[in-house]
């Protein structure tokens, strides 16, 4: 892809916009269309685009397997951690109302944190799956 200057430049220009849009979808999720799953996919798609243009090797430098695994598991831990927090604060598992003084704020905070967990896990899963398929002919 070295000779395709247009593709390389446009990709570099698009990357921040794609990742920023993913974050917008993530944090605007409870007010408009969107949420953790969609945001995670968009974030992952940014990496897919980068990999297509610049190759698996350079993409892996940004997201090494160990880091991806940590984010993958970390998202699940955030989700379950919110549930456990509700449990420790005196409610049942996944009761968000007890997370804040005001139940409504608690519900908002709870769903935002849960979606953050979903988003990080989905993004890491999409990136890992793509790396596995894209890097199949030459193992690391």
């Amino acid at each position: 892809m070295n000779q395709h200057a247009v593709l390389r430049v446009v990709t570099k220009l698009l990357m921040p916009a794609i990742l920023l849009f993913a974050l917008y979808v993530q944090f605007h999720g409870e007010l408009g269309p969107g949420g953790g799953f969609q945001a995670g996919v968009i974030f992952g798609v940014g990496f897919v685009l980068y990999t297509l243009i610049f190759g698996v090797r350079s993409a892996r430098q940004v997201a090494p397997p160990g880091a991806l695994r940590t984010v993958l598991g970390g998202g699940v831990l955030i989700y379950a951690g919110v549930g456990v927090a509700g449990l420790l604060l005196g409610g049942n598992f996944l009761n968000y109302s007890v997370l804040s003084h005001d139940p409504v704020h608690g519900q908002e905070l709870g769903i935002q944190l849960i979606e953050l967990g979903v988003g990080t896990t989905v993004a890491a899963a999409i990136i890992s799956l793509f790396f596995i398929f894209a890097g199949q002919d030459r193992p690391e």
Partner: protein, 492 residues
């Protein structure tokens, strides 16, 4: 406060431990985490069983959302009994695992094996505690997906095709199940099992519900490898690492039988069931499994595959017990869930020891092992006798109740068939015992030493369980009887 949270802790302890294992690539540490999580789950399950037997069913509302709308976790005697089976077998098998896993799974994948094991455990425990048919589907997928990965970790490349075959069949099964659930939701507007049980009779004779029953029973039939939906199982058990075969044989099929019990009795109303003759279908399929699978087991050359076919036959006994739709029949099925977990757990772990020392589980390579590995093979004899149903072992207790249930119904022929199929079990167990004890050992076998003590201890915990619960069956029978009573009571 903590006591009220036990039903959810049962599931989230392994569920939280799994991602931690995936993040930390150290196999010793992840093994300790997996073992600790299993033991903690066992302690929770025992507390729950004790609580349920003395104070009655426990209901837990997820996120404090009220029951028919929110997800309800419900622990009754049957669920608590299953929780104990799954977490106890998981703990013993994890105790056994390190040496066997180091031999059979690549070093850089062992921590992932532990993560997958914990996810599987969380999925199985979740399927048991939940009182919501859709939540059950979610846990079914968690446990299925992780078991596909665990099977594919086997050494031979055929493990990959076996896992893929299971992936396809398992996905078809899960899809059928969720189609059935969708149809029930369409007709009743609820996903809560108890609520479904009260609302279904009004619409029971509609074509939608009849189709839903068919979809759900076939879907779960695929997961529990009910003959003729069993084709994925022999390959999966034969090529998976031995520890995985042991865990799946001892727990996964048991939980699938539990789901069938829940659906047939709590949701569809058991004896009051109308629409489809589910009981008659189960009766015929159970008997076919008892004979067909046992007959195929006799001709196997690979000991793991032999045990896999034997599992199919044993599942036949459980299905047969359900088909009676009586308290004794259900007691027989429920007690056999526990007993079969003990037998197959012990037998597969013995094969794990054999594989460690011999490097293969071909029956022909086991010649003379009885003298070289006396403790290992003695455990196999105990497990084998139990599988046949010899008195003083748990296998006898199961068959005793099953035959009683058949006689209660006046089905003499069925009782005779149960006895005849035990003779088939005798043939295939004898084949291995004969080779191990009465054939002269080959040259390679003479070099072989007994398995390490750390592996023999878990094997003998299970083997001793086979005898202890065979002689002192009061507790297990009591738990099974109260579980059967709850199932029939909720079915009206």
């Amino acid at each position: 406060m903590i006591v009220g949270q036990l039903p959810i802790l049962q599931v989230i302890v392994p569920l939280l431990a799994a991602p931690i294992c995936a993040i930390l690539p150290f196999r010793r540490l992840t093994w300790l985490i997996a073992l600790a999580a299993s033991l903690l789950a066992l302690a929770i399950a025992l507390t729950l069983l004790d609580q349920v037997l003395s104070d009655g069913p426990i209901s837990y509302l997820l996120g404090d959302w009220a029951a028919p709308w929110g997800i309800e976790y419900r622990v009754d005697p049957l669920a608590a009994f299953l929780l104990v089976i799954v977490s106890a077998l998981g703990s013993v098998i994890m105790l056994f695992a390190p040496t066997s896993v180091a031999r059979e799974i690549a070093d850089d994948r062992i921590f992932l094996f532990h993560a997958m094991y914990l996810l599987n455990l969380a999925g199985l425990l979740g399927m048991v505690v939940t009182g919501d048919v859709f939540n059950l589907f979610v846990f079914l997928e968690i446990s299925s997906l992780s078991s596909y990965v665990m099977i594919s970790l086997g050494q031979s490349r055929r493990a990959l095709t076996a896992a893929f075959q299971y992936l396809i069949m398992g996905t078809v099964g899960a899809t059928f199940y969720v189609i059935g659930v969708g149809m029930m939701y369409m007709m009743t507007g609820t996903l809560n099992m108890a609520d479904l049980g009260t609302r279904l009779p009004a619409v029971a004779e509609t074509r939608t519900i009849i189709a839903a029953m068919a979809f759900v029973v076939v879907g779960i039939g695929l997961k529990l490898a009910m003959v003729p939906l069993h084709f994925w199982l022999p390959n999966a058990y034969a090529y998976a690492p031995t520890v995985v075969s042991a865990f799946l044989a001892a727990t996964a099929t048991k939980v699938a039988v539990y789901v069938l019990l829940r659906l047939v009795f709590t949701v569809f109303g058991g004896p009051a069931m109308v629409g489809l003759p589910v009981d008659q279908v189960l009766l015929v399929l159970g008997i076919v499994a008892m004979f067909g699978a046992s007959a195929v087991a006799i001709f196997q050359t690979d000991a793991k595959r032999l045990l896999a076919y034997s599992s199919l036959a044993q599942i036949g006994y459980m299905v047969l017990g359900i088909s009676f739709l009586t308290a004794t029949g259900l007691t027989a099925t429920i007690i056999h869930l526990f007993n079969h977990a003990l037998m197959k757990g012990a037998l597969f772990l013995v094969l794990g020891c054999v594989f460690l020392r011999v490097g293969s589980v071909q029956i022909s390579q086991m010649a003379g092992l009885g003298r070289r590995m006396p403790w290992t093979m003695a455990a196999f004899v105990v497990g084998g006798l139990s599988l046949i149903g010899v008195p003083l072992t748990v296998g006898f207790v199961s068959k005793w109740y099953l035959i009683q249930a058949a006689l209660e119904k006046g089905w003499w022929l069925v009782a005779v068939l149960i006895l005849l199929s035990s003779l088939l079990a005798m043939i295939y167990v004898w084949r291995i015992i004969e080779v191990a004890y009465f054939r002269a050992p080959g040259d390679d076998v003479l070099q072989i030493r007994e398995a390490p003590v750390m592996m023999l201890i878990p094997v003998w915990i299970l083997a001793a369980g086979n005898v202890y619960f065979g002689i002192n069956a009061q507790q297990t029978i009591g738990a099974a009887q109260s579980a059967a009573a709850v199932l029939l009571g909720s079915g009206g």
